[in-house]
């Protein structure tokens, strides 16, 4: 019975030890909102990144930026966000102890496919950059064949000018004859 109690006690201790954090929490934590999103090409969306200072001291000069990677099969590549009009990096001067900072990354969805977005914070006093979990983004393709009635102008104007051109040429030739 004693042996059984000892064995159960050891299992209990091991379970407690497994539940305990392996190390102290990171100086800063980063999260992204929304965690997943479905939208159409051309939509404007915005990601919110929350940077939490987990220490009792203010953290200064944090650089926070968003990254987007295309994970569509066959198109796997990181994206240059310049085309997507997203904010580039945000420099956070200071986050007070135990406080949070919220940054916005608006973007216009340029291409269809499956993507993952994540926000990274870089603290020069820490060797490791801290990234948020990945937010999954699905963008549906949208086809527009005649937006703003472009067809009549795009095809009509050169044709109309061509007809005026023929008229001018014809009248000139007639005059010469």
């Amino acid at each position: 019975m004693k042996k059984l109690m000892l064995f159960i006690g050891m299992i209990f201790l091991v379970m407690i030890a497994n539940d305990a954090p392996a190390s102290a929490p990171d100086r800063i934590a980063v999260s992204i909102h929304p965690a997943s999103l479905q939208a159409n090409m051309g939509d404007k969306i915005s990601y919110t990144g929350t940077i939490t200072n987990n220490t009792d001291k203010a953290v200064n000069n944090i650089i926070v930026y968003i990254s987007l990677a295309n994970v569509t099969p066959g198109k796997e590549a990181p994206l240059d966000l310049e085309d997507w009009s997203a904010n580039k990096a945000i420099k956070v001067d200071t986050i007070p102890p135990r406080a949070t900072y919220e940054g916005q990354w608006p973007m216009r969805l340029i291409d269809s496919g499956s993507y993952v977005a994540y926000i990274t914070a870089v603290d020069k006093n820490d060797n490791m950059p801290v990234s948020s979990p990945m937010s999954h983004l699905e963008i549906k393709r949208v086809l527009r064949l005649n937006p703003n009635n472009v067809m009549p102008v795009a095809f009509g104007e050169p044709v109309a000018l061509g007809m005026v051109f023929l008229l001018v040429a014809f009248r000139r030739r007639k005059r010469v004859k």
């Binding site: 090409m41 051309g42 937006p147 703003n148 000018l161 040429a169």
Partner: protein, 249 residues
């Protein structure tokens, strides 16, 4: 009145001819392709509407300048090479009136280009903000720039007396003026890039279009750049006046 006579002659000879008219059809075809791509291509169609309008405005301005350069380079050197300059100077018109008439023809050509581009601007900018104010800025700045480059090219044409050489010199100046376009955004942000942007009338114009159409900023933000363009306008007219007054047959 005599200027109007030269203007009429130039329009008859350079614009209302089948060859001259062909340019307008080509312009229209290029604008059709551009606007169709902007609005239907899966990636380009998602550009900000202001950005599309800004790109079309840049294209129209560059085209107006280019045609102005060609007209300007041909103005005096072309007449000399064709052997018609003597006849022109024997008629009761002064050199200044000839120059003003030819400059007027360049502006008439720009007016036609702007008229051709109007439907495209309306289609591309439909429903977007800053369309009308953008078109007002385009009309003024494209006119100013066309006068600047055309007057400069005309002055060179009068001094060099060779269409080929004055055209080459004018294109070189135009490429120099367009050089900030070849710099990256980071390079343009440096002190050198900023100065190059500021002293360059073409860069001033496209930065003004950007500021007005894309960023929606008011005239206060544009005043400095517009003043620089006006300065170049006066300088180019002065250069033209000096060049034709020194012209010898």
């Amino acid at each position: 009145m005599k200027t109007a006579y030269v203007l009429q002659k130039e329009i008859r000879e350079s614009i209302l001819t089948p060859k001259g008219f062909l340019w307008y059809i080509l312009t229209s075809v290029i604008l059709s392709v551009l606007s169709y791509l902007f609005l239907t291509n899966s990636e380009l169609s998602l550009l900000d509407q202001g950005q599309m309008l800004y790109m079309i405005m840049n294209f129209i301005t560059a085209l107006g300048i280019l045609v102005g350069l060609v007209f300007g380079a041909d103005a005096f050197a072309g007449e000399i090479e064709r052997g018609t300059m003597e006849a022109l100077l024997l008629s009761p018109v002064t050199k200044a009136e000839v120059a003003m008439g030819k400059l007027g023809a360049t502006l008439a050509n720009l007016g036609i280009l702007l008229l051709i581009s109007l439907p495209y601007l309306l289609i591309v900018g439909k429903g977007g903000q800053n369309l009308l104010i953008g078109m007002v800025y385009l009309a003024f700045l494209a006119t100013f720039l066309t006068i600047i480059f055309s007057a400069f090219s005309m002055g060179l044409s009068s001094r060099i007396k060779s269409v080929k050489n004055s055209l080459m010199a004018s294109f070189f100046i135009f490429l120099l003026a367009g050089s900030p376009i070849f710099l990256s955004a980071a390079q343009r942000g440096t002190w050198f890039g900023r100065i190059l942007d500021l002293i360059n009338p073409f860069a001033d114009a496209i930065n003004t279009f950007d500021s007005v159409v894309v960023d929606g900023q008011g005239f206060v933000h544009q005043a400095g750049r517009v003043a620089i363009i006006c300065g170049y306008l006066l300088l180019s007219l002065w250069f033209l006046e000096r060049s034709i007054s020194k012209q010898e047959m």
